[in-house]
């Protein structure tokens, strides 16, 4: 799978004009920016090139890395894609190394903003029996009260639910049926093909 670099990506052209050490340094800075967000002060200090093209160049480098990691392209594909920019062998090699070393981390960073649902944190429960109420005495009504704690990133939420034992049993049966679905041949075939 190749990704296409268009005219706009000529910003990376500045890389071919500088020495390999600067390229390595720019690569390191680009990865730092991907991890922590961009910091303009570093533009001035670290590289001895005029700052307009430095910013574009670094952004171009970050784009190159994120696109490659997004598609998890192989080495040859990466080299072929970068060929468009007409870099020297050495430069291509450096960029390739940069990509391979940081691939896993960048993929982890990219996986975070994906929309996610709140997930299970803990469950508290209680079994009660209602013996009498204002209108009616001498009852025997069992209820199960549940407090479901969910977590969504940093936010915790709690949901209070109440059910009678028959519904609870039905709930348990349905959930067990859902779990058993994982063991069906259809699911196993799909999981086997993915892994």
């Amino acid at each position: 799978m190749l990704f296409v670099l268009s005219e706009e990506h000529k910003h990376l052209g500045f890389l071919s004009e500088v020495d390999p050490a600067v390229v390595g340094e720019s690569g390191r800075i680009a990865v730092e920016f991907l991890k922590k967000g961009s910091n303009p002060k570093i533009y001035e200090g670290a590289l001895n090139v005029w700052s307009g093209s430095v910013q574009h160049g670094l952004e171009g480098l970050m784009y190159l890395l994120t696109e490659s990691c997004k598609l998890t392209i192989s080495e040859e594909d990466f080299q072929d894609s970068v060929l468009v920019l007409g870099f020297s062998e050495e430069l291509t090699e450096l960029l390739l190394q940069l990509y391979l070393e940081n691939r896993k981390e960048i993929r982890q960073i990219l996986s975070k903003p994906a929309p996610s649902l709140p997930h299970y944190h803990s469950l508290e429960w209680r079994l009660d029996v209602q013996l009498s109420s204002r209108p009616l005495r001498h009852q025997l009504k069992p209820t199960v009260t549940l407090k479901l704690h969910l977590e969504d990133g940093a936010r915790r939420s709690a949901h209070v639910l109440q059910t009678d034992p028959a519904t609870l049993q039905h709930l348990i049966d349905e959930l067990e049926r859902a779990l058993a679905e994982l063991k069906s041949s259809h699911c196993r075939r799909i999981l086997h093909n993915i892994q």
Binding site: R126, T145, K147, A158
Partner: protein
Amino acid sequence: MRFRFCGDLDCPDWVLAEMSTLARMSSVKMKLLCVQVIKDLLDEGIDYDKVSKLTSDAKFESGDIKASIAVLSFILSSAAKHDVDSDSLSSELQQLGLPKEHTTGLCKSYEDKHSALQEKLREISLRLGRLEAVNWRVDYTLSSSELKQVNEPTVQLKLQAQDPETDSTQTTVVSITADKFRVLLTELKQAQTMMNALQ
């Protein structure tokens, strides 16, 4: 194999695996560790310096220390939860492979603090919307814009309760006329009689 202290279910694999870690400590040190773990379960605070001193002889790494505290916490709270007597606990732990001296030490600590543990577990059981405070005031209305002579007593009741979903305190203020208040009081007294009959 079913164990009473696990609620008549199988013992979790990790508990079984950590028995050998516990056996690496001397039984005296393990009993002192039990005392620390019980203090933690009762919310009295655990002294981690003491714990590291106790485990340093057996050369526990931080992973081992965490594992031994976790397994002791589990055994003690689970046994208290299912109201297991210390003899059954002792025989079940020996079946899992914990040496006899360690088991005796653990069960002695368990027996000493058995009721305190159950009291604590009862306290932290799920309760929704606890009533935290009640304040009241009786007012006497003399007159109002509608009627010149009102002459009516009212009760102002302020209830502070915990919100079930957010656990924050919520205040409700109600004002009740004399008749309504009499009805409320009678009904609540009936409920109280019923509660006392159950105890």
